[in-house]
Symmetry: C2
Subunit: 310 residues, 2 copies
């Protein structure tokens, strides 16, 4: 799956993943109205609205980006109907041949981590049969519990040719509270130690040029990205924080390797709610899918320009 | 909700939470057979089996323990039908007046953390209406992303009088990989710094005697539990790792305060699969609920004995 991701990034020229984080305030009014008319102002109505919204977005971007990253929290908040919308979204993206990164940030230990891995990336055994629960291609995972939490995920990834992005240095302002603390024995910050461990885990499950085991490093910390790029040379870096969180194209160059690969940059509201920005307002809410497509092209140019000038 | 938990612990004399982690290998054959006969060897069949299994367990333990802790991964692995079984389990436990700790180990940032909080502890807005998604009483949360990840949960907890248990020092063998690293500036391990932060977060949302914001510290690390007990005097400690993971009653005493309160000890397979142990084999698989009830009484006696002898 990492090979597929790398190939699709080369084909599209877009080291971009679109975050499908459908907050209700992003969903155009005409979609909300129709969904509420059909299902009422219920969890089912909300789930229908975000599914219809996603479907239009996917139809507009599937051939210009390699991957999408649905944020499960935005679906889980609507309970069971929300989870059904998540599954429909994942399945539809896969029909469109998009690589699906489930932004689930799960993490537990032993058989519990294995259950998460099986639910999101693998097949669960039921008597003599086996089934995919949600079936994403990659999942984001939290490292706080150590190898006991990660190894069960790697086991399932090996069976299924799937992959992980492990949180190393997150994009938020308070990420330094724990992640930046300097360790006494190495004189290096915790995130660097986690990065070193990601590189080791990555060796266990290599694709052709990159590992199936990647890392999450926020665009908002370009200097740390520069260090982590070298610490984990074979790991793809999933880079959140572009756009709305303040990261710019020029901040991203250090996340890429010399081969122009090694990073995939996420944008969520900057693309899916582009129609709400002044820059794309002329599209109108009815044409939010076209606005999203235009925002993808602009982001592609921003990153390509930054890489050409480095 | 922390007041309710404390009161129920006093009433039952059981500082015990039963982990509802229904792995299929724990579910007695007669329940599996019936579920598969009705729904086939499908995700629906598996979900029906774990729900029927849980129902019998809950009916047998609801009046002898204060709380249950369903581990969502064990349901999530069965996709949508599994999530429905999780919700049915949570709702049924609440009907039986049990305090429900959702072992979800979620954690993200900003609006995403808020979406998780809303989904598991609060109400989500849909047009002019609002709904509970899953509606547990407490949730376990991962602290790796810092205050940006925790504060949105605390906000929802304040609105709903609900609470959290934040991972501090987990029970697994590799938990030390990151959690035990000594920090240069304080000369103390990371878990202690996280514990100090939990104490601070806890001050923001106090119940009568204890905070709504608790911590997870593994029974397998009693010496660290002793330190953390003092670092977070007002935080309830949820203690996993008793029984199957090797923790014994005598290891638990340091997790409690002088008032005999402040800790709640989890046991999962030791109770829910008691019938598979030699000690309770005479009950037979048909009477697994009675075996679970007997195991609760034995655990209660083990902890009470250890506390009396400290």
């Amino acid at each position: 799956m990492i090979n597929k991701l790398v190939n699709k990034i080369k084909q599209t020229g877009a080291p971009i993943v679109v975050g499908l984080d459908p907050m209700m305030k992003f969903v155009p009014e005409h979609i909300q109205k129709k969904a509420f008319a059909d299902f009422g102002e219920t969890l089912e109505g909300a789930a229908e609205a975000i599914w219809q919204y996603n479907k239009v977005l996917i139809d507009n971007i599937y051939d210009s980006v390699p991957a999408v990253k649905p944020q499960i929290a935005m679906y889980e908040q609507f309970g069971i109907p929300g989870m059904i919308a998540f599954k429909k979204t994942v399945d539809y993206c896969k029909e469109k041949d998009l690589v699906v990164i489930g932004d689930v940030k799960r993490g537990d230990i032993g058989s519990t981590s294995e259950a998460y891995a099986v639910g999101h990336l693998g097949k669960v055994q039921v008597g003599s049969q086996s089934y995919y629960g949600f079936d994403e291609d990659f999942a984001t995972v939290n490292p706080y519990l150590g190898s006991d939490g990660i190894n069960p995920f790697i086991k399932v990834c090996k069976e299924e040719n799937k992959g992980l992005f492990i949180l190393v240095k997150t994009s938020n302002p308070s990420s330094g509270e724990f992640q930046d603390r300097v360790l006494k024995d190495t004189d290096k910050p915790l995130y660097e130690m986690v990065g070193e461990q990601v590189a080791k885990w990555g060796e266990e499950h290599m694709g052709d040029t990159y590992s199936y085991i990647g890392a999450v490093v926020g665009a908002t910390y370009p200097e740390m990205g520069k260090v982590l790029r070298k610490v984990m040379p074979k790991s793809y870096i999933l880079v959140p924080g572009y756009g709305a969180q303040g990261g710019k194209g020029a901040d991203l160059v250090h996340f890429f390797n010399e081969d122009g690969l090694g990073a995939i940059v996420n944008s969520s509201r900057g693309i899916i709610a582009a129609y709400q920005q002044e820059k794309y307002a002329s599209f109108g809410a009815e044409n939010f899918g076209d606005a999203a497509r235009a925002a993808v092209e602009d982001m592609k140019a921003d990153i390509a320009g930054a890489l050409a000038n480095r």
